[in-house]
Symmetry: D3
Subunit: 245 residues, 6 copies
């Protein structure tokens, strides 16, 4: 099983940039489908979720295999995933883009939080979402879904490549979520994309200040005028490292 | 017309349990489609909506039958439903899962609230939803919808069996809504399901405490280890009746 | 290009009425499709957005025409629209009802705000929507969308007739948005519809007061009893002009 | 229960006109939603289905009420509808626009055919549709659907007003289906719309001949040039009554 | 890897019954989701496809992993699946219910046919479907889809449990397709369900004869009258074994 | 207005290749969205539609602007487009992916055919589609749609860039349709893509012959073995030019 292997400094960089900025950085590299579509935070956290993906795959539930007694099996893949997802990782579930039944509820998500997991994502829905929203752990879904998981979902595979919200996810890919959405960074690109996104964010912060001060975007964003780059360079020197958002 | 006949103690029990817990209790009984799909509270109320269903059925509007003058008819089914829905009941509307036009607006919902109705549910949308959200009465819909009801809906039947968000609803079935969603309990099951859900909720509260204290879910949830049941039994004795959520 | 030509007094009237009331006023005139469907405010503003429409049309993006370098072109229609949309107008975008990629982000919306634009509407989604929600300018979309605009959208036409959320929009039509949704008033109807909506709103305020005081809606709403109209007339005299909401 | 009351000469006229022509005739009268959306013939019949509507309403199935044994009840509404739908009428089913499970199968449709019913329409799907397609009786659905009716549908009401494919249908309204789709003519308009559609069809036949002969549509369709009307009048005289399609 | 293990006599029985009949037989056993939804034959074959499932799972394609050169890899899972799917089995693909790009084309399907594979099913679409329709091998999809597989699909797993059209499929389950749709029979039920379906088909044939002869369905279907069963018993004796369809 | 400028030899080449092959040729060039999604031929023609695009853009209809009398205007954009679309071109309509009302009917399509237009495509639906299917001219839509165009569509622009079935179309781009679907080739790529597709088709024909003769696809398709290329080269020489399909 893939060992999450995300450098602490890369994690720190990714905590300070937006999913939008990361999406543009991946777009430059020809990757256009990495944002998980139609998934949103249960509550805004004002901080990013960052961590390597640990995946759980659901298939449609067949009634005879999905009675409540199944959960008594300590090897049931959903329960097992909750207990073995590495601390610092993000548990991400392929729920086949259906929120007809729940992907998980507040007890499992609390357990994940206590185990140090960095976040939980599904392209379906959580039950008890009103409670999950109040937990500290960042969580993302399509919409609240109260029916028990077994109604339509059978957990079938742990840590295999999956789709989530039409994005491709391989175990170990780095997930970043902000108060808008979640993006998937291929693991081998995480370091360079983090660096680039930090730079882009600095420039965007500079641009936003200028725009708030009344400047036109033409020549400024993107920086097609030499003057813009010169001013940005000057502005940047006035910043201490920690001021960049 | 069905007289709502919900025992006060059953109502009280249902006010203290979540829709998710009720969904599991009905799942055990082979009922898998009782949660109203894709309907949400206009605002979180922090308390449950509980009441027997009083239904209103809409059909697609034919233009010649749905001019504004129709509302002048004191027997117009939508207006009549608002005036005869019993206090303590929940008015639930089959809007054919379409929020293209409104199911109702703030004046009608305010009237229902003043008449003592327990809640209002549609699988379409409310107009003036920004105002309705501020009312004390719990209300549930798919999304705000400003066009007048008549644009696509003709109220055609009062208190007949309907579908709402793909759930089957018979007049007198007990509707329970929390800050996530709404569930339909067949009237003949309301008492026993309420009892079971109260017990389940006690156990879930116990489990959640243990999980917050760091315990694994294996053996605990579900309680496959004898020790778990023994501890639960002990924990339960330490509770006064009123402490169970 | 159409010059926005909205009378200040019409604007003031439209700031005080709801989209629902306007939808009914247009319904009386046979216009049933004027509410932009499935579009919502990024944040409630507690006040109306009002302004003549200035439009931007997107078409599906072809990869070779939509590399990041395109934004370096000062004549790129999206960037140009942001710089020439008249102060007081609303920039409204036909994003083909798709939020797969962003219609715009926080830098462009901030620039529009600084230029005095009255609001921004798309039937797609904004990126950086968590930031845009905090700006003073009213903004409306379907859902947050982090991928860069170029992923699926090519800005192709400025200020042509468009569809937005299945509503027809001609440049200069008056857009009004409240905390529920946005409506399109044909420019030639703006004055008369504003007048009528103000009157309707007065009556609805009266009705709501009565309903809150416990009166039935039968005979009151609509006012089929002469007594209702007499009481309304009396109630109205007790109001100073400014008290009508 | 409404007695179908369709004049034989109206039926004959409606057998010779297309749904498209009827849709235009109703459009002139302000009725825009009368075509049943997204429903198609199981097989082209090369002739029209015509008959007054006899309706059956389905609601979502609750598992405990929809075991196979239910069909043993001679009063089961689906089976009863099949036995009492009047000869010459069209059985039309509100299946809530879902083809997840069947609306009916080949045995019931064969029984309806033997009883002289004029056609069967659902906005869901038929099972055994490969067999039904070969029957003489015209049938319309969304797509084949093999699961038994009880899986998602409970037949609940006979001959009440319903929606089918978003069109409003009242018992006794006249349904006309061709090889494209099905339209609903309000019963009180059937005679005049049939007359008008026959005239329109004559003119369209004339236009089509001219277009096939190479004439431009400008001035011809619609007939804005006096010459066109004169030629049509002459052309018409050359027809015996029976030649009009 | 699962060895298909379908008894020849079970296969022969399943070749003579309809998917609708099989769906009812599974419904009796509590299995309600076994019909693959919204998938249809490319061309009617007038005979059933029968075979154990051999599965292929697709995930969303990431651009850098899905260039045309990938197909040069002899271990590419799609190409490999085509070469190792056992003769007599059905290759069934989880294409995530998307026909935006192809699941396969005529060359691969021809190869499968030549290798003796019993059929091919996808919940996406085939390219070259006009050619595939003319092949003898039965094939099922949602709709034609011309873009190359790599556009949105990455083949990732061979012969794992999958979903297809919302039905659960385990390797070795028995797939049966007729001219309407495809059903999934859990492998352990195949023999008994085949037997039961043959009996049911005999009775349905009898019923259909009676209905064609003018008999009412009440008491006949289901057979609630003793006379019906007696007549069926007599009718059955007049049949030689081979006459049952 | 763009003059269609398609070389006769390019047209001839495009008449002999499939949309699937063209999609792969464009995929190699980084163009992934060029197939018009969810649009199909009204009837198989057994030959390709080829021609430069002449576009018509629809917007949502506003009721007061879309009464039947509008068609009396000789400058009505839909009627005008029918009369000025160049012979040899393909009229392609952006109907906003909605078949709720018709994009055109049999009279207009017959006129286009008589004028020598090469084909007609809409991402909505045609009325009188049963008649249009029998015409010689190739036509493509989503599904039959009987309501008059004016019900939801206002023709607003002629020969501007549009989207159709989520594909980007610029006037003059070359449309190719086969019995599966339609693809859009950017005009500047038409010649080279036609050449490449002819070569690819030759190779695919060779591959298909080999597969029909029992050869494995590994090493053959794609041709990773030198032997394959050598055999193809030999095979090719045995062909007269005209034998390549």
């Amino acid at each position: 099983m893939t060992q999450p292997n995300l450098k602490p400094e890369t994690r720190r960089k990714l905590e300070k940039v937006s999913v939008a900025t990361l999406a543009t950085a991946l777009y430059k590299r020809g990757l256009r489908q990495q944002v998980i579509q139609d998934v949103r935070p249960l509550a805004p956290k004002g901080r990013n979720m960052v961590g390597p993906a640990f995946t759980l795959r659901y298939m449609p539930a067949r009634e005879d295999r999905n009675q409540l007694a199944e959960f008594r099996n300590p090897e049931h893949p959903q329960r097992k995933a909750v207990e073995i997802c590495p601390p610092g990782a993000v548990l991400v579930m392929d729920s086949r883009k259906s929120a007809t039944a729940a992907s998980a509820g507040d007890i499992l998500v609390t357990r994940l939080m206590k185990r140090g997991v960095a976040g939980v994502v599904t392209d379906g829905g959580f039950r008890d979402s009103m409670n999950i929203a109040r937990l500290e752990i960042p969580t993302y879904h399509n919409r609240p879904s109260s029916p028990t998981n077994l109604t339509t979902n059978e957990a079938i595979d742990i840590n295999v490549p999956i789709g989530c919200g039409d994005a491709p996810i391989f175990p170990g890919d780095v997930l970043v979520g902000d108060d808008d959405s979640v993006i998937v960074i291929p693991s081998e690109l995480a370091d360079e994309v983090a660096d680039e996104a930090v730079s882009m964010t600095e420039f965007e912060t500079f641009v936003l200040e200028r725009v708030q001060a009344g400047q036109s975007i033409i020549g400024l964003y993107p920086a097609t005028q030499d003057a813009t780059l010169a001013e940005f360079s000057k502005w940047r020197k006035t910043l201490t490292t920690e001021q960049s958002r």
